[in-house]
Subunit: 466 residues, 2 copies
Amino acid sequence: MENFDEWFHDILENANITDSRYPIKGMAIWMPYGFQIRKHTMNIIKNLLDKDHEEVLFPMLIPEAELAKEGIHVKGFEEEVYWVTKGGQTELNEQLALRPTSETAMYPMYALWIRSHIDLPIKYYQIVNTFRYETKHTRPLIRVREITTFKEAHTAHATKEESDEQIQDFIEIYKTFFDDLGLPYLISKRPEWDKFPGADYTMAFDIIMPNGKTLQIGTIHNLGQTFAKTFDITFEDKDGEHKYVYQTCAGVSDRVIASVIGVHGEEKGLRLPPKVSPNQVTIIPIIFKKGKEEVLGKCMEVKELLESKGLRVNMDDRDIRPGKKFFDWELKGTPVKLEIGPRDLENNITVAMRRDEEEKIELPLDDSLADAVMDLIEKTQENLSKSAWEFQKEHVKFTEDLEEIPQLVEAGNVVKFRWCGDEEIGKQIEEKTGYDILGIQEEISEGKCIASDNDAKYMTLIAKTY
Amino acid sequence: MENFDEWFHDILENANITDSRYPIKGMAIWMPYGFQIRKHTMNIIKNLLDKDHEEVLFPMLIPEAELAKEGIHVKGFEEEVYWVTKGGQTELNEQLALRPTSETAMYPMYALWIRSHIDLPIKYYQIVNTFRYETKHTRPLIRVREITTFKEAHTAHATKEESDEQIQDFIEIYKTFFDDLGLPYLISKRPEWDKFPGADYTMAFDIIMPNGKTLQIGTIHNLGQTFAKTFDITFEDKDGEHKYVYQTCAGVSDRVIASVIGVHGEEKGLRLPPKVSPNQVTIIPIIFKKGKEEVLGKCMEVKELLESKGLRVNMDDRDIRPGKKFFDWELKGTPVKLEIGPRDLENNITVAMRRDEEEKIELPLDDSLADAVMDLIEKTQENLSKSAWEFQKEHVKFTEDLEEIPQLVEAGNVVKFRWCGDEEIGKQIEEKTGYDILGIQEEISEGKCIASDNDAKYMTLIAKTY
């Protein structure tokens, strides 16, 4: 892709994913095809969470008094909060925030719900719209003013150990989620100055987009007892003592879908991972006047066969040239296309095309078809994932030379380097290079810091970020 | 139920459905158990709509200029709209409405999307939160300030005939939806002075709650060309002429869930229709020290067997008295409970109880169990529906005497009467009785109007409404 930003902008509209012409900047419409991708994507994370978490739904508005209670937290958001000040013609007594995130909506209720250690742990999540009054340049699905799809999980625990385990659980859940989407990721611990407002520490998943910029696609925060103290969330422990709970929270958003589109896409259109593609198979009848009924009949038969195996299948019987249909479904990224025409009927075959490969394959139109198609779908899923991970591997470069960072980043890479962990030095590195430290990948015990005489403590990532 | 309103208030909290202690009046939290009921309920309507409609998602905020465009419409809502006036510390140039409903968010986009007759019909729906600054007394799920679950469908057609057919389609869809929930309904055409602001006419579904008050649970509006003219939604027809589209919209909300709870409930708790119950079967192990493992093992085996048949099953293995468990699941309304203890194991039976009947039934613990349980579930579904329809039948009373209406209504009935259709007379009837005309059930050609010397034209319903 020569110009990724342009490609991304165009594909959203051309593939019927979102429409950005809504008359409020940074707020777009999910169109039918995009909505289906969103639905299948969110179903994956819901199923993963439902094993051990419970879905709830909190109100969208937060009273100012609650939002303001946690000082560090509100500082992080106050410039970005939309305020409701009027109901009808009446000025409200207290202004109400459109939730930028729901800690301050939820935690006053946690304080009511949690009384004893037997009420713990609480593991709730919700999928909601949240709002940020973005002053920066907005981009659909990436930097928006209404985050239409914010999955936020909020847990409370009796001990610090359990809260740390919960962080690990979230990391595993997110890994599985992104694996199902064929998305690679870089996991790091955000530097102190970039953690979630109010958190003890923040773990983040970043992905490298085709233009080399990284996009934060998932965050997991250990909140310690900060909010527990602010909102007085205590429990009576087994020993009869009243203690503050330990909390965590974790979020993913629309950006996951932006990544699915961006990372797997190519010049001609989307390449959707089968698990989230609205149609996993698209059947294209090749129709001539003669034998039309037979061809359509066979297509319908194949559709029903594949659907009976649990596949999502559509048949494009529009009265237009087959070439236009191929073009459309390439654009929309259906993993497998099947072509059936009169000659195929005679030979009892169908021509199959995987979206991720040019090759055409003839498959017999018999009982073996379903398995053969399943196989193509699995291979597509694996191959998309493999290519994406390879791209990431090629675009993470290690250097020991601070001066080399800009050149590597501008060439589309994330850069890995050794850092002593000193905050001042870290901020100097950001300032000198003009990029953001994503965070710490791992602790190390050898080598020197890239920007000081100190011993290195951490393998660290820096990138141009969205 | 002696005091329905009190019962309803209590059950929401006791059965873990909603929590109304959120610090904004009229906005409540969906708790885990309630959320599951909501999810299964909305899945039914989604599946019904997905056959012929496409799901989309529009932004939550509407610019004032768009909301104000359709004069009649905005008059109907202006007293109830919440306004966002600030982003961060900045006053916005244009204030933004929290959507009270989405006509004015959607239709400017319809004007962009619709160019030609081949773009029609458009049949979109979304499930979203909407907002009303209610000044009346609020009640959870019934009269709220955040409608968390608003399903709104919006269609556009080339001809008036097609739009009328769409109204019939919506009526059929809603009938199936309410039938699946075991809910009875009264369908009527709202009087002119109570139709949706901007509609040509409004068809409504009302349900009689146990206290005799009716609750509007679904509305379907034929919008004619009113909005099309306001938002300039035109298409080029086959004959090359530019014409305005015909539109319809249809909504259901949280009130459907209020009805499921209210209509089927009884003193001891919920009685959930199996199609929406979070658990369709609850297994209660009867545990003594001796034979504990065997009992739990068998319970797990039965759970897996039933789940393999597609049933939603939970096992309550909490370390508390069985009596408490029975009490809890009666409160929460699981359709079928299975009890398995050491003696049952010896006799190779399980004791089954339907939530809607007192009787206990012994079922053999063998291959026939799944079918037997399925049968109990189906009977529960049918019986809940049957009882609810009988209740409705008993509580719709016909009268020819205007004076008798108050007495009939106060005894918990909806009253049916003959009306000439004259608006002045209709309003007089409302004023004299103090109740609301729900609408017209059917056209009639005999008898006199209940309140004038005119010939009757319509069989009409009047009730005390929520």
